[in-house]
């Protein structure tokens, strides 16, 4: 039972990171019909920002945390401005290829400008400290991740539900052209969606980088793929589904890794995909069914 609870908290900690990334991807998919494979750059670039700050002033995470979040927002908004704005209205396939293009350009820039090898920086001192609650031992990083993730999700949900800006984003995510007919400015809503997605990714990047403590050209690829998977199993385009998908993926990974026999633990990722395949047999639309209007 103790192990089960520990793994549950570990799964929520991982899942929270995936949920934040998936929510950003779902937001962008909603307003642009784009599965943004450049979203991982909102982790890659901040990773190098963290590395740079570590080089300059040491591993001061009071400085690194805001810098990582600001960098993620700027990267997200910049990719929209530099790349996606010019292919807006093109086919989904064109936008998908553009997102791959952005990813490969960013990777190439860091390979040439820094190094193809990973650059390490100092993790926070408390990262693997544990705390005992009711006889169960938890890693502090998991508890902080869960707490901050939930606070971020509550803040995001409040923005999306209580502010006119958030309601406009939700409207645009559901039917972009109808939102434009209501007077929602397309540039503003898309830029806002990218900024919000960047902020969510920035929070996710903080915890991802605290765990890995390294910057490399492909640093954002693995978390990006997890975010994409979470968004898809949640029901691509559904904001609620993205969050559910993120936590479900995190829990599935942790429990499968714990339950698979020692010599099969390496097959965890494969087993997760098998579970996802089974889910899609039962619910091809993912956890949440997305009602989406056809565009004119």
């Amino acid at each position: 039972m103790t192990e089960f609870v520990q793994q549950f908290v570990d799964g929520l900690g991982r899942g929270g990171i995936y949920a934040l990334l998936a929510l950003g991807l779902a937001l962008i998919f909603g307003v642009m019909h784009l599965v943004n494979f450049a979203h991982g750059e909102t982790i890659t670039v901040p990773a190098y920002v963290a590395f740079g700050i570590s080089l300059a002033v040491g591993g001061n995470w009071w400085l690194i945390v805001p810098a990582v979040i600001v960098a993620a927002v700027l990267v997200s908004v910049a990719t929209e401005f530099v790349a996606f704005r010019w292919v807006r209205g093109s086919s989904d396939f064109t936008m998908l290829l553009t997102s791959f293009g952005v990813h490969f350009v960013v990777v190439a820039v860091f390979v040439m400008a820094v190094s193809p090898k990973a650059k390490n920086f100092e993790k926070p001192g408390w990262i693997f400290n544990t705390v005992r609650v009711g006889g169960v031992s938890f890693e502090i990083v998991d508890l902080v991740t869960i707490g901050v993730t939930l606070a971020t999700l509550v803040l995001t949900v409040s923005i999306l539900r209580k502010t006119l800006f958030g309601i406009a984003i939700r409207a645009a995510a559901e039917d972009f052209d109808a939102a434009r007919l209501m007077g929602v400015r397309s540039n503003r809503v898309i830029r806002s969606a990218f900024a919000l997605a960047g902020f969510l990714a920035g929070v996710a990047a903080v915890f991802w980088l605290m765990r890995t403590g390294e910057a490399e050209p492909g640093a954002g690829l693995v978390p990006l793929l997890k975010g994409v998977i979470a968004a898809i199993i949640g029901g691509l385009g559904s904001l609620t589904g993205a969050v559910l998908g993120g936590f479900a993926l995190g829990l599935a990974e942790v429990y499968l890794r714990a339950w698979l026999p020692g010599n099969l633990a390496g097959l965890t990722e494969g087993a997760v995909f098998l579970l996802i395949a089974l889910l899609f047999i039962v619910r091809p639309q993912g956890f949440v069914t997305v009602r989406r209007a056809e565009r004119v």
Partner: protein, 242 residues
């Protein structure tokens, strides 16, 4: 008020409307009828800014607005009630109306919310309900109420009675009459062509992307052979899909 000159819109290599010209004067209710596929929805979508024309001009109060984006057209006073309503199904009735009032100031928005609830009391009763769960009649009222939230001078209505029970069709036409009394200008595409011609000051008949007839509603109704020739059914019955 609205002038459309030789407007052509294409979907790839297919020409949906070809050199269409029409005028809508301030305070008029103008009908647009024609068989399915005639290009009625394309014409409204092009005027509203959802589609870019391949050629031609759109003028509003004498100023060219060809190719202006939908949000810009709305800010100039042109609102579209789209075909099949296109409500935000996951948003509540209140949220649908709030988004539709995004161009207004906070005070104006509150004032208009009060006005549309007065005009459509049923929406006040469904304030917190998701739009996706409204009945057809409620949904159509919400679609029209959304258009009113921007206080438009010209309302483009695309098939406002589509899929509604006859009693609700009466409600929609009654509403069109009330909007006319308020001095609003309307350009209406409607499947119930005879009913629209009776309600409209003037109308245009669109067929395979071109205007083939125009005139006062009564005059078009009385014109022998018009429906058989251009709309596709006998003069005695209603005109499905017109």
């Amino acid at each position: 008020m609205l002038g459309v000159e030789r407007l052509t819109t294409r979907y790839g290599s297919i020409t949906a409307i070809r050199e269409v010209s029409l005028r809508v004067g301030a305070g008029e209710v103008v009908g647009l009828i024609g068989p399915n596929g005639a290009g009625k929805t394309t014409l409204l979508a092009t005027v509203a800014g959802l589609l870019d024309p391949a050629a031609g001009r759109v003028e509003l109060d004498g100023r060219e607005v060809t190719g202006a984006s939908p949000d810009r057209m709305l800010r100039r006073g042109v609102a579209l009630v789209p075909e099949r309503r296109r409500l935000f199904a996951d948003l509540t009735v209140q949220e649908n109306l709030l988004v539709a009032g995004i161009t207004a100031t906070g005070g104006e928005r509150r004032e208009r919310l009060g006005e549309v609830v007065e005009l459509f009391p049923v929406l006040g009763q469904k304030w917190g309900a998701q739009a996706g769960y409204l009945s057809g009649g409620e949904a159509q009222q919400l679609a029209i109420a959304r258009a009113l939230m921007s206080n438009p001078r010209l309302i483009l209505m695309d098939e406002p009675t589509l899929g509604l029970a006859p009693v609700l069709v009466d409600v929609v036409f009654e509403l069109i009459g009330r909007l006319r009394e308020q001095g609003r200008t309307l350009l209406v595409v409607e499947q119930n062509a005879r009913r629209l011609l009776r309600a409209a000051d003037r109308a245009y008949v669109l067929r395979t992307g071109s205007i083939v007839a125009e005139g006062a509603g009564d005059e078009l109704l009385a014109r022998p052979g018009l429906f058989e020739a251009y709309v596709g059914v006998g003069a005695g019955g209603e005109v499905p899909g017109a």
